[in-house]
Amino acid sequence: MNVDPSNALMRDAEAASAEGIPPKMVARSVNVHYGATHALKDVSLDIQGYEVTALIGPSGCGKSTVLRCFNRMNEMFENTQTSGQVTIDGMDIYARDIDVVALRARVGMVFQRPNPFPKSIFDNIAYGPRIHGLAETKEDLEQIVEASLQRAGLWDEVKDRLKQSGTALSDGQQQRLCIARAIAVQPEVILMDEPCSALDPIATGKIEELIEELRTGFTIVIVTHSMQQAARVSQRTAFISRGELGEYGPTVEMFTKPRHERTKDYIMGRYG
C-alpha cells in the first residue's frame, strides 16, 4: 500500500489531538539551518500536556535540535536559522514580541552532562528564582529551594550540606540537582536532553522514577539514546531520522507495531 508521506506525517503529528485535548506545545513545519547544514526538515510535532514524550533516533539525526526548538536554545549557536511555527498554549514562541527570558522560565531544560553551577547547592537552586524575582523574602527562597529539592528527590541526601558546592555531588545527584534547578523556576514544560547518558544504571533508575513522578506536574520531552528508556518512561515516542520526523505515536504502538520500515529497523537495532 502506497501512502502519501505528507499525509502520514500530518496524521502522526496530530496523533495526540485525536483524543480531544489540545496539545501543550505544537511545532509546525519547523526548519533549522546551522550555517549550510539543513538540520531539521519540515518537522511537525504535537506535545501533549502532562505526558512524557520521548524523541528517539540515530546519532546526529536532529532530535536534540527538535528539543531545543521548544525553548529557543538553538539560538545559542552562531548562524542558526529557524523557520516554521512553534507554539506553547497557542502562543507563537518565535514571534517578534516574545521575551526569550520569560519563555525559558516556562520551558526548563536539563542537559546531557550534569552542569550544576560551581556554587553551593542552595545557590544552584536559588539562582533561577532570584533572577526572576519569585521569592520576596529569604524564607520564601528557602522554601522554594526545599520544595524543589524535595520534588527532585534530593532533599534527604543534601539537606545538611546546602552550603557545599554543587559540583562535589555524585554525577547522579548532580543531574537531580539540575532537575531541581529547572523545577525551582516553576516551568510548565521540562526538556531533557539525554539526561542519563552520563550516568550509571542505578542513578539512571532514580532519574527515570523521578521523571515518572514529575509527569503529574509537568509536561516532559526527553531525548534518549536508549530504546528501553523511551519504552519505560514515555507515553508517546517520536522517531526522528536524518532531520525528519519518521514516525510519531503512542509508545506502546511504536514499539509493538511500528508502521514504517525504518522505525522498525532502528527499534530492532539494525541501524543507528
Binding site: V101, R113, P116, F117, A184
Partner: protein, 423 residues
C-alpha cells in the same frame, strides 16, 4: 618469534631509548645553565645592594660649646627661641670635634682636610639632635656622624680615585673602633638627590604606584569588557577577524611606539601635564590592553559552554549568564593575564622616557598630575651616573622592583585561590 624480538625492532627500540636519554640530558643542561645565569645575576645585584643600604658613621666626642650658639647674635625680630639653635655654627662644632679626635695633626691645612672625613650632612645631623635635646648645649656627647662620599667610597671599596690621606685616617679610626655601619633608611624615605648618600627611591616608587594605579583602573575594565564582548557577544565576521588580528599585533608592538603615541595624543592634543602619572598611566594602559584582552579571551573561552547553557536554560539573560557564571569562572585566568600586563608595565622604561617621566624628582608626587618618575626610569638614571655610589643605589632599586613584583604575584595567588574557593 614475536614482533618485539626481531632484530630490527630491537635496534629501533634501543635508538629510541637513546634519543629519550639525550633529550633528558639536554633539558637538564639547559635548566642548569639558566639557573647559573640567574645565580650570577642575583649575586651581582645583591653584592651592590648592600653598600647602598648601609651608611658608615664616625663616632666622635662632640663638645657643644655655648660660643658656637652665639654665632649669629642678632636674631630677626618675631622669631622664636629655636632660631639660635637652628643657625648655630655646627660646622665649627664638627671641625673642632674632628681636630680633637686627631690631636697629633697640627698643620692648619691638614686640619681643614680632616673635615673631608664627614659628610656635609653631618651639620644637619647635629642640628636635629640639638633641636631634640636643647639641654646638650654646654655638654659633651658621643655622636655618630655620617662619613663623606669619599670616605664611603674607600670603605665600600668602590672603584673611585682614592685619597691616600683619608685612607690613613679611616684606618686609624677603624683601629679605635670609632667606625660603625647603620642601615640607610634614606633610600626608602626620600626622593632623588644630587648626593648618592641622601638619594632615595620613594618618589620613584610612589610615581610607579600612581602610574600603575591609573593604567590598571583603565585597562582592566576596558580589557575585560572587550574580551567578554569579543568572546561572548560578537558574531564572527570580517570586522571581528580584523580586530582580532590587530589586537594580536598590538601585543607585539615595541613599547617605545606607545610612548610616541602617548606624547602625540595625550600631551600634544589633549594638553595633559607632562611627566605626570596620569599621562604615563594612560600610555601604559594602551600597552597593557592587548595582553589583558588576549589572556581574558583565552580564559573565557576555556569555560565550558554547558555552564552558560545551564544559566540560559533557567531564564538568565545573556548578560546575566555571562557575568554571573562565565566571568567568575574565568576570573583566575583573567587575573593572571592582568598581572602579567602589570608586571610588564611596571618594568617599562622606554615609553615613559618620551613622556617626560625621566625627571629629577625630589618631592613625593601626591597627585596624578604632579611631575613624577617611575622606578625603572630611576634605575636607568642612577645606573647611568658615573659615581659608583649611584649605581649601587640602582642595584638596590632593582631589588625593590623585584620585591614589588613578588608582592604582586603573591597578591594574585591569594586572589586566585579566593576565587577558586568560592567555586
Amino acid at each position: 618469534m614475536t614482533f618485539a624480538q626481531t632484530v630490527s625492532t630491537k635496534r629501533k627500540l634501543s635508538s629510541r631509548n637513546r634519543a629519550d636519554t639525550a633529550f633528558k640530558m639536554l633539558g637538564r643542561g639547559a635548566l642548569l645553565l639558566a639557573f647559573c645565569s640567574l645565580l650570577a645575576l642575583a649575586i651581582a645585584i645583591f653584592s651592590r645592594t648592600l653598600p647602598a643600604l648601609t651608611h658608615h658613621q664616625i663616632t666622635l666626642d662632640v663638645a657643644f660649646e655655648p660660643d658656637a650658639f652665639d654665632y649669629q647674635t642678632s636674631a630677626p625680630s618675631g622669631t622664636d627661641a629655636s632660631y639660635r639653635l637652628i643657625y648655630a655654627n655646627y660646622g665649627q662644632i664638627v671641625g673642632r670635634s674632628l681636630e680633637k679626635a686627631f690631636p697629633e695633626i697640627v698643620d692648619p691645612a691638614e686640619k681643614r682636610a680632616l673635615r673631608r672625613l664627614v659628610s656635609p650632612t653631618a651639620r644637619m645631623q647635629l642640628r636635629d639632635r640639638v633641636l631634640a635635646n636643647p639641654s646638650w648645649i654646654g655638654t659633651k656627647q658621643r655622636v655618630a656622624l655620617y662619613v663623606s662620599k669619599g670616605a664611603e667610597n674607600i670603605l665600600d671599596a668602590n672603584e673611585e680615585t682614592v685619597d691616600p690621606q683619608l685612607t690613613l685616617w679611616l684606618t686609624q679610626l677603624q683601629d679605635r673602633r670609632a667606625l660603625s655601619t647603620t642601615f640607610k633608611s634614606t633610600l626608602f624615605t626620600r626622593g632623588d638627590s644630587r648626593e648618592p648618600e641622601s638619594a632615595g627611591l620613594l618618589a620613584a616608587l610612589v610615581g610607579s604606584l600612581l602610574t600603575i594605579a591609573v593604567s590598571v583602573a583603565i585597562s582592566f575594565p576596558v580589557g575585560l569588557l572587550s574580551a567578554v564582548y569579543l568572546e561572548q557577544f560578537a558574531t564572527r565576521s570580517r570586522l571581528t577577524d580584523i580586530i582580532e588580528v590587530n589586537i594580536n599585533n598590538l601585543a607585539a608592538v615595541p613599547s617605545i611606539l606607545f610612548g610616541l603615541l602617548g606624547l602625540a595624543v595625550f600631551i600634544n592634543v589633549f594638553h595633559m601635564p607632562r611627566s605626570s602619572p596620569l599621562v604615563g598611566g594612560l600610555t601604559l594602559s594602551l600597552m597593557m590592553l592587548p595582553t589583558i584582552i588576549i589572556a581574558s579571551r583565552a580564559a573565557l573561552s576555556a569555560v565550558p559552554n554547558a555552564l552558560k547553557a545551564g544559566a540560559l536554560a533557567v531564564g538568565a539573560s545573556p548578560v546575566q549568564a555571562i557575568f554571573h557564571h562565565v566571568v567568575p569562572q574565568a576570573m583566575p585566568g583573567i587575573i593572571t593575564g592582568t598581572l602579567l600586563a602589570i608586571a610588564q608595565a611596571l618594568g617599562e622604561t622606554a615609553p615613559l622616557l618620551l613622556l617626560g617621566m625621566v625627571a629629577f624628582i625630589v618631592d613625593l608626587p601626591s597627585e596624578f598630575t604632579d611631575a613624577a618618575t617611575a622606578l625603572p626610569v630611576q634605575i636607568y638614571m642612577w645606573a647611568e651616573s658615573p659615581e659608583t655610589a649611584f649605581s649601587n643605589n640602582a642595584a638596590a632599586a632593582v631589588v625593590v622592583l623585584l620585591c614589588l613584583l613578588l608582592a604582586l604575584n603573591s597578591l594574585a595567588m591569594i586572589l586566585r585561590s579566593r576565587f577558586q574557593k568560592r567555586i
